[in-house]
Amino acid sequence: MGKKQKIVLPPDLPPEIPDDDIEVSDDDLQFVKENRGYASLLSTLDTQSITKHVTRVADAKDDALEKIYEKRLQKNALKKEKEETGLQVDRVDALPIKTLDGKVYYRTATKTVTENDPSEEGAGEDVDVDKGLVKLTKAEKRAKLKKMKKEAKKQGKEVAEAEVEETPQAAVLAEVKEDLTAEEAFESKKHKLAELGNALLTDPESNIKFLKEMVQISKDNDHTIVKLGLLSLLAVFKDIVPGYRIRLPTEKELEMKVSKTVRKTRYYESTLLSSYKAYLQRLVALEKKPLFQLVAVRCICSLLEANPHFNFRESLLDATVRNISSTNEAIRKLCCSTIKSLFTNEGKHGGEVTVDAVRLIADHVKAHNCQMHPDSIDVFLSLSFDEDLVKSGNIEEDQKLKNKKSNKRKSSEASDQSVENDRKKSRKELISKTREEVEADYKAASFAPDVMERRQMQTETLSAVFETYFRILKHTMQSICARPEANIGALSTPVEPLPLLDPCLKGLAKFSHLIDLDFMGDLMNHLKVLTSGSSNTGNTSDKSSKCLTVSERLQCCLVAFKVMRNNLDALNVDLQDFFLHLYNIVLEYRPGRDQGELLAEAFKIMLCDDRQHDMQKTAAFVKRLATFSLCVGSADAMAALVTVKHLLLKNVKCRNLLENDIGGGSVSGTIPKYLPYSTDPNLSGALASVLWELNLLSKHYHPAISTLASGISSMSTANNQLILSKSSPQQAFKEMSLDQELCFTQSSSIKVNNKKRRKNGSATSPSIGSTKVISSFDDDELRSKLNSHFTILQDIKENERLRRELDRTALSLQLYEQYKKQKKPSKRKSVLPRPPFKLRSVRPA
């Protein structure tokens, strides 16, 4: 037995690199092919020992397990060889998975139909083995074994060589690491993780019990190991979690007698589920520790994204939402993107998760009293509501939700999405045949829910979303009312106290067509108050304007108008107030601080698109915008001017503003004189004014503005047939603001410097310099300075000369000495020449 085991053990196969598994099996294949004679023997020996081994060491040490795994692979390979016809590599989609520790796993799925269970197969083969075994004598056996060993060694070497060639650096690195025992332990754990993960990926059904082990590993003390464990578990789960929800068998069902395969599946599922649960618990626990937070959140998010249909999604979702307004930006981004993908890929989970998520977020907002990061509400923007569903609901039971004006863009978006989903699915189908059935179930699950149910869910979602929005609005209202007392003396940099208002308004604008009519009145009132920036509460408090930024107020106006437009004036709300506010907001606008896009949009929606303008108001706006464009940068001025042009084109009578005929106008308003400081457009008496601004604007530094201004000023009351300019203020704004950055590249090629009038070429320069040209130098001083300079120079020269001389004499003395020495041999030693002390003293200081 012992001998046999030795044979079977692959002696010097480095187990670290999973690639080897493949290589080994290939080599084996080749080897066995070459020596057909041994084939039967080998296989028989092999299987026998292994079956015994497996049964014996099922719960042995870890290292042993590893070996077992190795062996099994080898055996599988052998089996492949043996039953060449029956060989099936069924999953070709196995792309290598790269985990964080830099290893590449190959999914070498060797799962075949029959040989799922090693014990079964082993048992089946035992019969053959018995037959073959008897014939062999001991001696023969020994000889063959020796040969086997040699072969195996050779193979090992080859493999090792190949490996060295492949990754020499890695090998060296590995060697270095082996010196350190701690490192070694770490490495071994890492390897084990890799092995286990690989095994699971290779054959999840038979290796399902490894899951528990992996979960165990991830509870290690070493941080890195924990992280690695979590991540590899993530990879495994992502892959093996089925496309359906696992329902644990009830007691009754457990009692029932079932077939072997069913039992196996049950075992598989329950193990999977329990370890999944353990894993999740671990994740949720770790998520609270700052050290592991990022990793845990990442795992949670990607699990949720990959398997939103699977069991325990509630806890996942909960954890995600909890972190949605985390202060850590990376975590927040992860969570938000996960939620967004949940919203956009509703097909995966049939919309249930959407409802849950929206609910949770709503609760979260409530719990935090609207003090969260704006991102957390921004996710609502990626929600998409199925128009048709809502519609059918309307017909059936007079639903509250209203959408007469269906937004085409959105519906097309939705259809696009579903098409995409379909395509994805079809690809999946093609790839994995074995999953066909599951796939069908999946489809049924995602598409089947009847209309009623879906509508129900959608209604729920909507109500949750709007609940959140209204909560935010109300909160804002409250805080505005409370603020004046709270902070006296608004500071120069207002800390944004209402982080959620901005996304909330955005969302309201986007879903304005879905808003319940009952809420509409309330909403409008809220918006009105918000827009006015509480200035109606009393102008005495001067900080009032600080309560909401100009952008936010503008946005309120915009939302109100969008709501009205989308509902086709089903409500009888007076929008005059909003005009009034816009009229005043324009003056408070600052280019750097506020969002110019919003302003341009407001111009577009409120002024250009409005159908029922009365003249007085229009004139007032024209005047105000022209004035406004005198004070701001080019982009904003352009937007304003485009609006002015638009208004003037539409309202013929307002063109009287362009003419200077005092009192003689046919349309002199009730107010005879223009009051520029009036806050009400209707009372400003703008019709009596003249657009003198255009003259100044035509001197504007920006060529586009100046041409536009002169174009407007040359419009006359006479010709009505002017072509309506296509460009909207938004567009103009965008162009101009982009201009600000890109104009330089455009103008690079052109620009010839044409000179109007060339002045006299020799432009005498009357500058500081020339005044000093003739400034007489002090002769004496200069002379003395120069003298001193030259004397110094002379001194230096003299010095150099002396030194040279000194050197020369010293050299000659030396030569003389040498000469004397040479002569010495014949004569007696004479007196040595003295060193030239005297000469040395000559040296100047």
Binding site: L491, V690, N695, V773, F777
Partner: protein
């Protein structure tokens, strides 16, 4: 000494060139004569030794004197281009580093080289001086006069050949624009990875080098826009300045912003083009509404820094500075257009805002200044409006609009002009005082 004094005249006499003429053609003509041949080595050695002297000596006066003498005989240099190059190198160095008259003398040499010799030499001069200017504006924190001098002299140099220099200016301004563009783009993206890069870009823009470059070109444009058509350049630089002003919000960058406004006013004043600055000025006013902590910090000279240290923000001096400079700039802006027919409209929005500010501030000195300004502007509005009601033409009649109130403008004694003058003189005296304190 004697050599330096007399060499030029001697050579000239020998060669028969009149002392006043400085045309290189005469030298080139002489090249072939026998007289030249005989004198050539002598002149060459003279010039070479003088240039050598320039390299050796460090004393200012000697340098200035010898440069001055060399300048007198600069026409001879046309015969020795390599010596000329040496001389240029030295004089650019002296120009950038020297002080007082030496620097100006050196500049005169450069100017002469650029003007007397061919256009290639102008290019060389331009590039060398520009580089020197940039590298010196980098770390000179206190020597503003010198930088100013460098700037002015460089602009003068540019004036020698407008055609070339404006083309070069366009390239340089475009470069500035590109840097700024980068800054904007990174600001918009706002991702973490870019944060470092953003800081880097901000550092580039928010450095003296950048500021001085803009300053240089502003000066250049405003000096020449009357005579030449520099409209595209003006447009580009205005866009850049606006971009810089808006790129750095926040009170710490107020000096930078004030500087931007100053530039814009300057440009607008010299070119007669309308450049709106009101919103920028009003922004400045916005910041100062903070409660005054009453701390009297060091004397702040906002023009001398780009970014303020934080502790100055709350100081009374700083706020005072803000208010007064805002009013100054605004009145400068208004004064320019005070005779324009649309002055009332121009002043409307700022007035509304100023009135609000007036209501908000509690400090008496600020209130007084603002009040006075408001009153003056309103007076002028009334004045223009009254005049305007009498005119028969419409806004589309550009020519008659141009002639509107021109007579009054020439006489220049409307109350607002006088007010503006008083404001400016006050500002000047204030600056003097603060300078003295520093």
């Amino acid at each position: 000494m004697f050599m330096l004094h007399e060499a030029d005249t001697t050579f000239r006499r020998l060669l028969g060139i009149s002392t006043s003429s400085s045309r290189k053609e005469s030298v080139l003509e002489l090249k072939n004569t026998t007289k030249w041949l005989s004198l050539r080595p002598l002149i060459k050695s003279y010039i070479r030794s003088t240039v050598f002297l320039l390299n050796q000596v460090t004393d200012c006066e000697i340098l200035a004197f010898s440069i001055c003498r060399l300048r007198a005989s600069i026409i001879f240099l046309s015969a020795f281009p390599s010596l000329l190059r040496n001389l240029l190198k030295i004089s650019v160095h002296l120009w950038a580093t020297g002080v007082g008259s030496l620097s100006s003398q050196a500049f005169l040499i450069i100017q002469d080289i650029a003007s007397v010799f061919s256009s290639n030499w102008f290019d060389v001069c331009f590039i060398k001086t520009y580089n020197a200017f940039i590298s010196h504006s980098q770390f000179v924190e206190r020597k503003f006069e010198h930088i100013h001098f460098l700037r002015n002299s460089f602009v003068e140099l540019c004036c020698l050949d407008m055609h070339k220099s404006s083309n070069r200016a366009r390239i340089c301004i475009m470069h500035l624009g590109k840097i700024l563009q980068k800054g904007w783009q990174t600001k918009k993206k706002r991702s973490i990875a870019e944060e470092n890069f953003l800081i880097e870009v901000v550092k580039t823009i928010c450095s003296w080098q950048y500021i001085n470059c803009i300053d240089l070109w502003v000066k250049f444009i405003s000096a020449n826009i009357d005579d030449f058509d520099l409209q595209p350049l003006l447009y580009m630089i205005v866009q850049i300045i606006n971009g810089v002003a808006l790129l750095f919000p926040g009170p710490r960058y107020l000096p930078l912003r004030l500087r931007c406004i100053q530039w814009l006013n300057h440009l607008s004043g010299s070119s007669g083009v309308f450049i709106p600055v009101t919103s920028l000025v009003l922004d400045v006013l916005e910041y100062k509404i903070t409660k005054d902590s009453g701390k009297h910090g060091k004397i702040v000279q906002p023009m001398s820094t780009i970014k303020l240290p934080k502790h100055w923000l709350k100081s009374r001096d700083f706020q005072e500075e803000c208010v007064s400079s805002a009013i100054e700039f605004l009145s400068e802006h208004f004064a320019q257009w005070s005779y324009h027919i649309s002055f009332p409209e121009l002043a409307t929005a700022p007035l509304i805002h100023l009135k609000k500010v007036f209501e908000r501030t509690s400090i008496e000195s600020f209130r007084r200044v603002i009040k006075r300004f408001i009153d003056q502007v309103e007076m002028n509005i009334d004045f223009v409006q009254k005049k305007r009601e009498e005119v028969p033409f419409s806004p589309k009649d550009q020519q008659s609009v141009e002639s509107f109130l021109q007579v009054e403008k020439r006489s220049g004694n409307t109350p607002f002009t006088q007010y503006y003058k008083s404001i400016m003189s006050k500002a000047a005296s204030r600056k003097l005082i603060s300078d003295r304190k520093v």
